[in-house]
Symmetry: C2
Subunit: 311 residues, 2 copies
């Protein structure tokens, strides 16, 4: 069981190692929506995403003798770089298992923080990271199932509520569900009467379907989305927390995601990755319900190749 | 004579009407430079640029009977939109004189804040705004010569120093010179031993030539730069302040400006207009002199069409 207390512990543990990111507002968007929205800018976080919080919390929580043997993950996205950063801060070994096909930019991000990269075939990633755990005694830090990761991700919502006071709608993107689950724990404790929302691409709507049926649904294979951080199916732990928190998942189409990325760049002057932009798209999708509300939204990250700017 | 006290007065006058913008850091840039740099994000300011500060200060400083007749300017850039915003906040008329050839995006920005747009031939802009002053009793708020504008612009550097403590190098872009002059007044009062730098495109280096010769030099006609906010020649008042403050102007070429824009987008995850990116390019240009220093840099704005992303 992960609780709000774990998020508070995470907050004091990671302080000074991650940024307390700014909260921005946009008079233009507020006028469009007829509401007040506060944007928690995790795109301005260390490594460019909220993932630095969970990875840092998990790495700092390890007992010294366990930490010494290092950490391992097979996430090649933002979590891989975040774990490499956290391990570098603590001065312990870190191995990131990556498919041979991983794009250079992701390889460089991990290498930048001094982690070892272990390449393998895409289907062998889990087996390879299990082998590294066994052979080296390294600890697997799962990108969204690890309890310390979920608690760490919740600190973004904690800071947002601390900095903005009374909010009555809260929203975060849902992929594996770590950020949304951590946020839900905070929402239940600090703003029990607020509505907690998740934002998910229509193309990979397993979380929405899972919440609708009450049973965790698999991702439909072969579908994809510009929101490459949200392609993963929702995790078991995260789903249980979202279910208990009665989170409402709002789905958004690809055109709405692109429009949201553009809005952030052109109006808020910040670079937001498509996964992070889903929250703005989701607020637009249910705009009539939001008039007069005070909304807190977590922008998950800013790591993007700007493809959306051309479309 | 404009003094530091005028900047302090401006700061209390405009509080609540403009953002106290965040200060960001980049471990990557600091490693590259071998220094610590603090980025004051005026791209995240109201209207997307520091111009909101000077315009707001000038408009709020007007006596009630003068204000009632409204304000006028012939700047079609960031100052035009900023003045329209300030006038809207105070609830007074604002006319912005624009050339027939002004791009739609600039027209829309001004119209967005409810100002009247008076179109004319580009050569007749000054005559037209003089006529509006005469006929309506409106007050001309010059984009960089007006003392209250210069004092208002200085509040960005004031906040930067308040938020970061001991800095020994300070830098701001130089176009008309309002921001750099306001910053210089603050630097002399709060950090008298710090080096105050200006950043200017090589293609329009009138401020650098003026400082080198001690005599205000005209802009060379026909030259241009991606940094469209810095095309104006330095103003008389600003030049006197820069000269008294022994400001060193560092010039940067177009490729360095593009590279700086990209760095801000890809690493700091913020949208910076080419004029604002000159400060990063200038720090790179004199990197060997900056090792171990603590640097405060004002990013002037974020209003851009992203042309630099394609080059």
């Amino acid at each position: 069981m992960i609780t709000f207390a774990d998020v508070c512990t995470a907050a004091s543990r990671i302080r000074g190692h991650v940024h307390r990111t700014p909260v921005l507002t946009s008079a233009t968007f507020d006028r469009e929506l007829g509401a007040r929205t506060f944007w928690k800018c995790e795109n301005l976080q260390k490594c460019g995403a909220f993932k630095a919080r969970g990875a840092m919390n998990a790495v700092l929580a390890l007992p010294a003798d366990v930490a010494r043997a290092g950490v391992v993950t097979h996430s090649s996205g933002n979590h891989g770089a975040a774990l490499a950063y956290a391990a570098q801060v603590r001065g312990i070994p870190c191995a990131v298992v990556m498919p041979d096909s991983a794009p250079d930019v992701k390889v460089l991000a991990v290498r930048h923080y001094g982690a070892e990269i272990v390449f393998c075939k895409i289907a062998e990633r889990e087996a390879m990271s299990a082998r590294l755990q066994r052979e080296r005694g390294a600890t697997l830090i799962h990108p969204f199932e690890h309890p310390d990761v979920i608690a760490g991700q919740g600190t973004a919502m904690l800071e947002l509520i601390e900095d903005t006071g009374d909010l009555d709608v809260l929203i975060a993107p849902v992929g594996g569900g770590g950020l949304c689950a951590g946020s839900t724990l905070v929402a239940q404790a600090m703003r029990p009467r607020a509505a907690m929302l998740g934002a998910e691409p229509k193309n990979v709507d397993d979380a929405a379907r899972s919440m609708a049926t009450g049973v965790r649904q698999p991702r439909v294979e072969g579908t994809t989305s510009l929101a490459d951080g949200l392609l993963t199916g929702i995790g078991e732990r995260a789903f249980a927390i979202l279910l208990a928190g009665k989170v409402r998942v709002v789905t958004v189409d690809e055109a709405a995601i692109v429009a949201a990325c553009r809005f952030f760049a052109e109006r808020l002057k910040i670079v937001v990755e498509p996964s992070g932009a889903t929250v703005l798209a989701a607020l637009r999708a249910i705009a009539p319900e939001l008039r007069g509300r005070r909304i807190g939204a977590v922008i998950s990250g800013g790591n993007t190749d700007f493809r959306w700017l051309q479309s």
